[in-house]
Every structure is written in C-alpha cells, then in structure tokens.
Subunit: 395 residues, 2 copies
C-alpha cells in the first residue's frame, strides 16, 4: 500500500522544524526548554478536574456520556456566553459552537471557508500550525507587514486591494509567537477596514484570560461582529487535554460549519464539555484561574528580569502583559536558527522565530520565541544566562 | 457576511432527512423511537466513568491534562493493541492512532486520501454519515450491489474494473443500517480482490464487541493487513461522549494522517484517552461490557419476537447476532418514506431505509431500519404493534 495516492491535503502537510525540535527535546529531559508552548504541569490541577468531573456527573447524569448536539452541550454554551460577554462579545445561541479545542475550531472554519488557491492573509510573524492548516486546504498564505501592535492597517488595505481574500487571520491578544497585543485603536482600524471591504476576519484568542497586568481591550470581534469568526479555548486556563474550544460566527456560516463538524468528529466530548461548564460556572474554577495568573505572572517577571540582566546589547524584546511568550530580536546578522543546535547541546531550548513566518523569509533568523509557562521558575534565570552567553558569542 | 463564499466542502454538505427526523423527535419525548442509533442511556454508567476518571487521574497524574502525542496516549495504544489482537489484528505501534471517535477516524483518513472527483465504493445500503463525509471531500460515491452477506465479490470486481477507486468502504460486522455480518468466506474473497487489485479498503467496525450469540469472524483487516484501514471505537461499549476511536493503517499512511490530525484537532483528549485505557484494562470495564451485551441481547430478542408476531405477511427481516439494528424489507410498493409522517403522529419513529442508499434510488423505499438499543425494553412490543398495524394498512 506504499503506493496509495495521497490527497493534496496530505501532500501539502509535512512535519516541520518544530516537530524535529520536540523530537530532540523528548530525548533530553535535562534541557531548560523555552521551546514548549504548553501549560505548566504544576498548574494542571488533577484535584480540580476530579471534582469538576464528579460535579458534572452528579449534575447532568448519563447525559454527559451520550451523544449530544453537534453544536455543543447547552449548559456550556450558556457559560460560554458569560465568558464572551466579559470580552465585550454579545452573541446569540445561533452564532456559537463548541469545538474540539481551538485547533478543532480553526479546522471547522477552514473546512467551511477554504478551497484550493484561496488566499489567507496573516500577521508577520504568526502562529505556525495555523499556516500549516491553511496549507492543508490548499490555500495560499500571504503575510501582511505587522509592527509591535499587530497587523499594520495600511498594509492590510494594500493586501486586500491586491488579493481576493478568503479571510484575514489574526491573534490580537498576547499573540503566539510575539506576545504582542493589538491596542483598542488598532482593533478599531482593522475592524473598520474589514467591514468596509466586506472581508472576513478570524480572531484567534486563546490567551486573553492569562492577563497579568493592564486592562484587556475589547475583542476585535466586538468592533466587527458580522465579519468576525472568533475562536477561544479553555486549553490554557483549565487544561489542553480537555479539548474544548468556543467559537462565534455569523449564524449562516455556523450552519455550514455544523454540517461539516458532523463528519469531522460528530461532536466534541459531552463529558469534557460538562467539565468545562462546571469550570466556567464555579467558584473553584475562578479561584484556579486566579492562581494560574499569579503563577505565570511571577514567571514572566523572573524571565524579564533575567533577560534584562543577561542578554547582550543589540537585543530587544517585547514585554507582554500576559500570555506565555517573550519575543526576542537580535541584531542583524544574529542567526537564531544556527544557534539552536549549540543551545540544545548546552542544555537550553527555544524556538527560532523564523518558523513563525509564512514565507520562510531568511530575514527573520535573528528572532527567537521564549515560552515561559512550561519552565520551572527556578530554572528560568539559569537557562537565560546560558542562552544569553551563547547569543553574545555568536551575535 | 451572508454573502461570504463557502468552500466546496460546505456546499456539498447539507442537512438531510435524518436531521429533520431528529428535530421532530426532539419535540416528542412520548414517541417510541426505533430511529435513534444511540446507546441505551441506562447502560451509560456514570458510576463506572466516575471511577475510571479517578483511577486515570490517580495513575497518570497531570499527564492526563497536558498536551500529548498526536498519535495517542501510550497506555491506551497498548490496551488497544490487546483489543485488536482479539479481533485477529496484529499491529505494530507505528500503524495505530487514537482518533476523536469513529467519525474522527474516518475524517482523518478521508483527509489523507480523498481529492475532489475521487471515487469511493460503498455497500448498498451503507452508513449515511460516511457518504456525507466522502461527499464533503468532493468524492463521487458509488454503491456496489450487496446481499445479506455484504458486498458481492463479482460486483466489486466489476466496479473496480470500471472506476479508478480511492478506496472501498465497508462495515463488515453488524452493519449500520442492516445489522448484517460478512461471513469469513466472503471476507476472504473481498480481501483477495483488494489485494490482487492493489486497492485500499476502509473497514468500519464499531459494533463487533456487541455480539449476543455466535462466533466473530476475524476482522477483514486480518486477511488484507497491508490494504486495510481499520476503524473501531469505544462509543458503543463505554460511551459515545468519550469520543475515542482506534485506527490501524499502513505506517506510511499513518504518517500523513498524523500530520493532518495536528491541524484537525491537535490530538484527542488525553483525559478521555486515559479513561478509555482504564476501561479496556480493568475488570470493571469487562464486567460492564458483559452487562451491556446481556441487556442489548434481551432487547434484540424482544424486538425479534414482536416483529415476528406483529408484522404482516410480505415483510422480511435480517436477524442479526449483535449490534443495534434490525433491517426490515416490505413488499414492493410498500413506501416506508411515506409512512414515516403517519408513524410519528401515531407515536412511533424509525428511519426509512432509503436514506442509507448513496444513490437515493427510489427502489429502496420499501425498507426500514429499526434501532433497538435506545428503546426501553418495555416499550418495544407496543411500538412494533403500532408500526406493524400501520404497515399492514399501507402495504
């Protein structure tokens, strides 16, 4: 069967450098890894999930084990509406669905919107797995110049004039990989453009609950509700393995998405949805989130402090107000891709920023993404000291 | 945004008559419904799932809440191998993955294999949602004449000679909708054909653990391991809402499938996978399965008895040895599609057999699928008496 024809989707998707890094890391538990964008295992509360599981079963009985509506479990849809209201998103039930994590949401949406050769506009840099997903649908991904506040309005106008665009994909809050957040004014500008041009925008917002200081701008969706497909998930606050995402979109698009989701996975686990509903609706859930925020906030402080003390001149970084990532830019000529092998040998891992550029442009090899969520706080300073010394040697 | 262009996948998938029936049923809890192919809620054990959940958390700790391998949770892959061995499937770890239910498995496989205009061969009748899924990938679905033992070998030869086929899709054991099982000899014949012709076959096998009498033939996969993609799930034995499927395929195809699954849903819930591993590996799980088999077996007996006593002459049915379905064929001229509205008014529901034919051929309007799993045993005789009387009036 080695000669079986693969689909064009399969041909478009291959494992990339990130996979190789993770494969290498799996062999090296001693490495201080700023590469992994996963939650701190110490903040994944088995006690909380045990008690939420039992609460869900007690409250809803065997309903949590049975087939349910493809759209989602009603009590979770209700709780999700409250969550969204806090982000200034007012939505009706006929515009929401529960997906199998944030990636499930993006896949559902891509399935409903993308055909081969469609164009998707993305920020530069942007979330790599999303680019891969767009590619699996045969889409052409075009990076739009972006600054410290996200996609640049003038550049977006230009790209929209040049291409017939299926949608624009953005991560406005604590972006993966840069940690940057689009301020309210920029959101208004972007929203005005997409509304005026009748374009759709996909807002991927899975980090906004992890805010350690400052005030959250309203979701981009709130400025262009009829043009925005909004995606969030509980992977970063409750647990990735619960695989629950929440998505808002115009009702007529939702109709298509749900028809496709029936074939994609029928529905998201009702059991996991019920656990998620209990999480969102309980004081224990709120207390857990507060604890997670405190812990990550302390790690971010430690990381910023370490970077300030150890990194050589010529390096700059964006200090985020939340999320899981610190983005470091070295001087021109600094080559993070080339540094990675040495760093791994010296016991430190990070992701080269170049993997987050859709065009694979060699211009971005001076950038690095440092994830701090998954690193034990006690290891942060030591890891950064080693990495900074290597940067000094090679920059 | 009402004018946003949809993908060809979205255009191909619309809600069908089954959706309408379920929408009607949702309003009528008084109806005795032989329409719903879901497990008996009384056999979805909240006690078992509570204890499996706590066991999983105790055993694996926060690992069950964290991101994990896209391929699946290692302890579940191990347990799955034992399950498969009982079905005469010997497989190595590099040929398996855990999917988000059986539908998730089928979607992953279709994503890796299907392009628009590819041809998929199916049995007649066949599982409707699978046809819908193939259609969403743009495939042309061709029904191959089948008898009480499944797809007819000569007809398969003819179809393979006529079409360039992406794969053949079969449900050899307790087929949905007919309940029929392909005997060992037929499996050998079908396997010989696909091997000789270098064709792939997708074996959808989600009911084989629900055997109430007789002996299981080996999985079709065991006769053509290099040509078969084998799909099973725990939805019918543990719980649909756990959304755990198990899939076996040649390793090089698995490589493509996993690359795509990263974008489809990243991974199946580790928590649900750990619960599934505990189910498969525990005495409590085995005891639960035995209990489920006893209860469904009694329901099937009650149903067959009722059908024999009430149905008028000219109707025939296949008595299955397991699964959830009884397939009834009326005399020529009997119109199950036309009967459905009256039946619903009289308080009985079923699925017209015509919805299970890929070609929508009007020749099959004399068939009905009766699901017995979800109907309280005490209601079966009464429901069949009403339905049989209506059949007598209209046949």
């Amino acid at each position: 069967m080695a000669l079986v024809k693969r689909s064009s989707a399969a041909a478009a998707v291959t494992s990339g450098p990130i996979d190789d890094i993770f494969a290498a890391l799996a062999q090296r538990p001693d490495v201080v890894s700023f590469a992994v964008g996963a939650p701190d295992p110490a903040l994944l509360s088995t006690e909380l999930v045990s008690s939420l599981s039992l609460d869900a079963i007690r409250k809803y009985g065997s309903t949590v084990l049975q087939y349910g509506m493809t759209q989602g479990f009603a009590p979770l849809l209700d709780e999700a509406r409250n969550l969204l209201r806090n982000r200034h998103i007012r939505c009706s039930l006929d515009s929401m669905h529960i997906s199998t994590g944030g990636s499930g949401a993006l896949h559902n949406v891509c399935s409903a919107l993308l055909d081969p050769h469609d164009v998707v506009l993305v920020e530069t840099p942007t979330y790599g797995p999303a680019v891969k997903e767009f590619g699996s649908h045969g889409a052409t991904v075009v990076g739009v110049p972006s600054d410290d506040f996200g996609i640049v309005p003038e550049a977006l106008e230009e790209a929209l004039a040049r291409y017939d665009v299926a949608f624009v994909y953005v991560l406005p809050t604590f972006q993966n990989p840069t940690g940057r957040t689009m301020p309210t004014e920029r959101r208004e500008q972007i929203a005005e453009i997409v509304v005026r041009r009748g374009t759709s925008i996909v807002e991927d917002d899975v980090y906004s609950d992890l805010r350690y200081r400052g005030v959250s701008p309203p979701a981009l969706c709130s400025f262009a509700p009829d043009n925005t497909i909004y995606i969030t998930s509980l992977s970063k606050t409750l647990a990735p393995a619960i695989r629950v995402g929440i998505t808002v979109m115009p009702p007529d698009l939702l109709h298509s998405v749900l028809a496709l989701k029936q074939g994609i996975d029928m529905q998201t686990s009702t059991y996991c949805q019920a656990i998620a509903a209990e999480f969102l609706g309980s004081a224990a859930g709120a207390a857990h989130l507060a604890h997670v925020i405190d812990a990550y906030s302390a790690k971010l402080d430690t990381l910023v402090d370490a970077v300030e003390r150890h990194f050589p001149q010529g390096f700059r970084w964006l200090e985020p107000e939340g999320g899981m990532f610190l983005w470091v830019e070295g001087p021109r000529g600094f080559d993070a891709d080339a540094l990675l092998g040495t760093a791994l040998r010296e016991g430190v891992a990070f992701l080269p920023g170049s993997v987050f550029y859709a065009d694979g442009d060699a211009d971005h090899r001076n950038t690095m993404r440092l994830s701090f969520a998954n690193v034990p706080r006690a290891d942060i300073d030591r890891g950064i000291a080693v990495l900074a010394a290597l940067c000094e040697d090679t920059a």
